[in-house]
Amino acid sequence: MLAQQLLNGLLLGATYALFALGFTLMFGVLRVVNLTYGFYFTAGAFLALWLTQAGAPLFLALPAAAIASGLIATLLDWLLLTRLRRAGADELASLMVTLGAVLALYAGMTAWLGPDIRRLPPGLIAAGALEAFGLRITLAQILILAACALLVGLLLWLMRGTRLGLAIRAMAERPDTAALMGIATARLAALVSFVSGALAGAGGVLIGLNFNAIHPYMGESMMLRGFVVIVVGGLGNIFGALVAGLLLGIIEVLTAGYISSGLKEAVAFALLVLVLWTRPAGLFGTTLARKA
């Protein structure tokens, strides 16, 4: 049973990490507490729902939904935050603007589509499970693990191994200096918005596929865990988000499995406080919250 519980924790943690990847990128690089992030997650899931209902296979619907979510993210970021950035407003201003915007978006979506839970068409992905050594894992879960590993690898390569990543890191460090050095910061900010929105959208599709529950507020319910993961992992730290996500998932599952299901949140969040108490910048953070 311990092995299955560890696998459960790993899978749950992978969904947290998958959700948090784009969030930590947006937070760490753009230095914006952008609460609309959860909406891109919802948007990705709904776009995939409509595409697959129209008959598109998953391998087409998933990238299409991710790209569309990325475009929505770029548009919203430009619409909501350009003025604030130009005026040099502080983080509180962007927090309030995006909070208002995301609540309006969720509520508008609920008014339009209703609060009901929807499912992706059955048979979109094989429902059976692999069984070995007494462990069970479904295809959707394997897909989440693979996507998580692949995306972490890609992002690390992008950030550390390319000139583009160098420019992004330079912008994250000091936007004004980066601009003076000839980096097109506005265009780069739009690109980062696009990538993180696309990551959110892809996460929405895969997690919606696994839990089979798509509804307007699905992004909101992930945001609290998402926050915990990126803060514990260190803001902007992709590898940190992966480790923190997996840890949170495993701790929650083991608490529910061996102590009490009523205590899983209490234990998980008490550990969060403990981590931040001893390492205020997070497990892998170097500077204190990079001013963000």
């Binding site: 459960n8 749950l12 839970i117 069984e131 879960q141 839990f211 529950a213 529910a256 899983k264």
Partner: protein, 373 residues
């Protein structure tokens, strides 16, 4: 404007008409239902059931040929609305008995008004605990969950279950009270409870609890929660390899067409108790369903069935009382023996339903509920 003028005309007409003999007057009854607002579906269904019953009863009348006149007032789903509607019906229309209000919250607010004036009042959809504690004039025909779940548990035991694991949402009063009922009912039905696990209503991951339960290999799993988390539990249970050998049992939250819509094939075989079911084969129910279908062009729901039976129960009580007197009607109601769409019905000591023979256990099969074989 028009309404006021009509009212004035009616009042004038009433004055001008010679006083008719009281023995031929219709018996004035009132109903308070939610007809507008977000919960209007329940009140509208109840009104449809009442109107259908009224037609049938007035075919031969009560007390040797007197008709019933039923005034239905809208409460708009609010406590104030329910209180005002009751005051209006009692003061203006001089009703001798009341049906409604639709919601338990409304009954807690408006029930004391009727009870203080000594007007017998029957709730048809008020399932909360403590409704009839309002006073001796408050009755209900709605069956509380505490009466339905034991029937479902007995069914699970009759199908061969010996052990059961219970799961419930611990952040919701409705789910928690349902869980307490399940705990008691399982023990009474002879089921051994091997595990109790909780979750939060908004959770999407139940894998830790289900893995723990799976290791204990219970014959059945009872889930008390609203339909959304119940569906989530079922979907994940199938992922973790729970098959048809495990009997899933739901509370009132699972008695919803949404169960099949969200959980799909994962909900196959789940047992749910219900005070009424449209396809119940007995003659009284089939006659009701056919009459409703031909009058309204659609199938009735539980709320229409409960209201329909309640007006018959009230009419029979008026007959037994011998005259249209509120206190006598109250006493006659306590001696109710009625068989209607809901099955055999009588009131218990506490003026809530005493008989549970009418409860049907449903099983989800191929995406729809059917009577559990």
């Amino acid at each position: 404007m028009l309404k006021r003028r009509t009212l004035a005309a009616a009042a004038l007409a009433a004055l001008l008409l010679p006083m008719a003999a009281s023995a031929a007057d219709p018996v004035p009854l009132g109903a308070v239902e939610v007809l507008t607002g977000p919960t209007a579906a329940y009140g509208t269904a109840a009104k449809a059931g009442l109107d259908l019953a009224l037609e049938a009863i007035n075919g031969k009348g009560v007390l040797g040929g007197r008709k019933l006149s039923l005034t239905v007032e809208d409460s708009a789903g609010t406590k104030d609305g329910a209180i005002n509607a009751m005051r209006k019906l009692i003061g203006r229309d001089k009703v001798v008995a009341l049906i409604g209000p639709t919601l338990s919250n409304e009954m807690f607010a408006a029930g004391p008004v009727a009870n203080a004036r000594g007007i017998p009042t029957i709730g048809t959809s008020t399932t909360a605990n403590g409704i009839t504690d309002i006073g001796p004039f408050i009755f209900r025909t709605a069956m509380p969950e505490a009466d339905v779940i034991p029937v479902t548990m007995r069914k699970a035991a009759a199908r061969g279950a010996k052990t059961i694991a219970l799961m419930y949402a611990n952040d919701d009063a409705f789910s928690k009270s349902g869980f307490e009922v399940m705990q008691k009912a399982a023990a009474t039905a002879g089921l051994q409870i091997v595990a109790t696990e909780s979750f939060a209503s908004k959770d999407t991951d139940f894998s830790a609890q289900l893995t723990k339960i799976k290791a204990l290999k219970p014959d059945a799993i009872g889930i008390s929660a609203l339909v959304e988390p119940v569906s989530g539990v079922l979907l994940q249970a199938r992922q973790l390899g729970f098959g048809a050998e495990t009997q899933f049992v739901g509370g009132n939250g699972s008695n919803s067409p949404k169960l099949a819509a969200i959980a799909g094939a994962a909900a196959e075989g789940m047992l749910v108790g219900s005070p009424w079911f449209v396809a119940k084969p007995d003659a009284a129910n089939q006659a009701f369903v056919a009459a409703f279908q031909s009058k309204y062009g659609k199938a009735p729901d539980q709320f229409a069935a409960q209201a329909y039976d309640t007006l018959f129960i009230l009419a029979e009580a008026i007959d037994r009382a011998g005259e249209a007197d509120p206190a006598k009607i109250r006493d006659a109601l306590t001696k109710t023996e009625h068989t209607g769409a809901l099955g055999p019905f009588r009131f218990g000591e506490n003026r809530s339903p005493a008989a549970t023979e009418g409860v049907v256990v449903l099983e989800l099969h191929d995406g729809a509920f059917r009577i559990a074989p």
